[in-house]
Amino acid sequence: MTAGAVVIRTVGLEKRYDDRIAVRSLDLEVRQGEVFGLLGPNGAGKTTTILMLLGLTEPTGGTAEVLGLDPARNPLAVKRHVGYLPDNVGFYGNLTGRENLRYTARLNGIDGRAANARIDELLRTVGLADAGDRAVETYSRGMRQRLGLADALVKSPSVAILDEPTTSIDPVGVVEVLELVRSLAHDHGVAVLLSSHLLHQVQQVCDRISIFVAGDVVALGTVGEIAAQQQRGLNVSLEIGADGDPAATRAVLEAVPGVVAIDGDPQDHRLLVVTVAPEARSAVLTSLVGAGITPWLVRDRGMELDEIYQRYFAAAGGAPREVAA
């Protein structure tokens, strides 16, 4: 996980459409040998960012640099070295998996025996060795996704951009795919840029992440750093379970200075969720015990990536797609 050279750098990158901003003033740095996660809900600007990095759409502001090249001016050079797994990847259904990969190989100037060897190896890696000679139209969504991963790696890229690589893969497969992604970066020195809206997976595999909401990066760093940034000065949630009259418990809690809100847990009606300033956490417990109520559960819901993520999504109003310019 040592930080290598910066291979993707964007400075103030922006994409503006007539009616909305898809990406606003994005600053990113992805280094060789790291897995960088773009996390955000659908429509947050992740795919647009990726397309700009590949030179498939032109930025309206700022600059992007991939391997020292400007993708908008020199897309061919960039695309020689960047493997891309698009969101909802598609293949020619009448061709076999192997034939689809061979087509990609030919477009990359890899032909003949070298191509066959590379394709065999990749099909084994993604677990499609047996299905390689079947027409892709017989594949499941998960198999297509795996084939997409193999397709992105055919050209032996030094940068891999994977847009939602784990969608529609079963849980066991997800572990395998994430392991592969990790090994690509850490063992083979490939810079991996991965986008996802599934934060647990991102959390598992990414060295650093940036959270995207409605075209803005709202947080950037390692998972730990982001949590620490966010925790400072923010209220935390305590889950409290206590027997006896809930109304009495509520009354006690309401009297504690620093308590901001008390809600019932929608999933478990026995629990109360108390939003409280971090410094008042202990006071909550002492006052409960002082009032003769001994809780059987106290849990700090804390600030997992989950929470941070939820918080940003709530702040974005739930409809990031229609944010006005």
Binding site: L56, L69, L76, R80, Y103, L107, N108, G109, I110, S156
Partner: protein, 340 residues
Amino acid sequence: MIERSQPSDVTAEVSPATRSIPAGWRIIGGKEFTDHLLSLRFLLLLLLLGALGVGTIYTVAGTIRDAASQVSGARGIFLLLFTLNPSTSITQSLPPFVQLVGFLGPLVGIAFGFNAINSERADGTLPRLLSQPIHRDDVINGKFVAGLATIALILGAVIVLVAAIGMIRLGLVPAGDDAMRLFTWYLMTVIYVGFWLALAMLCSVLFRNSGTAFFAVLAVWLGLTFFGTTIIDAIAGIIAPSGTTGEQQLNNLVWRQNLARLTPNRLFTEMGQVILDPRVQTVDIQGLVALRSNQRALASVLPFTQSLLIVWPQVVGLIGMTSVCFGAAYVAFMRQEVRA
């Protein structure tokens, strides 16, 4: 016909693992061409055109053989196979071969173009394709070249088949001049069908749904074929009403003809009339009138180059229309967002 520089090798110095990458349109074109040849529509269109062509020629050849004694020695008998109306004997319904191709040719072009781009979008293969080290226009150029090659193959196969049957039935081998005429007509037919291919590809760029694209281009084809003349005559009637004097009537006819020449169908028909018949000296209304008043018609037979000179405007016009139509598809494709 689509010349574009190969991907330049400016990347060589930044790339440690330099691979020589061939021009993308060749690879894409090759793949598309293979797809076309293996497709059901290729087989169906080949069978349809082949069967109709053979039926026509077989009938015409019989007619010619019956009449051959009277016109023996005249040049261009062989080409009559393609232009004569076979309605004299068995069937009344078959048009001459040239008309058959003029009518059904567009269908071949439409069949190989209407889902060229939108199917890549629908299948989600376009972003993957465009992320390979190729130029964006390699996609549309490769597909157009593959379509043209397929069209050339179908038309070539049918024409050769039909000519062979004609030779056997007539016991007549085409002279060099005849062969040249037939070959030129074949090339122009490929370009004429190429117009419809380009139009279908334009629709495949503009309409996301391949069904919509198919019906859009089908509507243009049927509209031009069945209502084109009516509409054009009506417009000509407004601009230059056909009055009582000969001059007015002539003026009206000239307008009709010139307006009709804005359609590829008319250009193709006129081109065929001259190229495939060495006796035809003009297709212009004025020219025909002049010929008739001079009583010079049927006086001579033209060499191939003279015939080509007569329809040079039609030839250039047809090439121009096809180019413009492909250009429109090209521009539309280049301006589209990859993801939309």
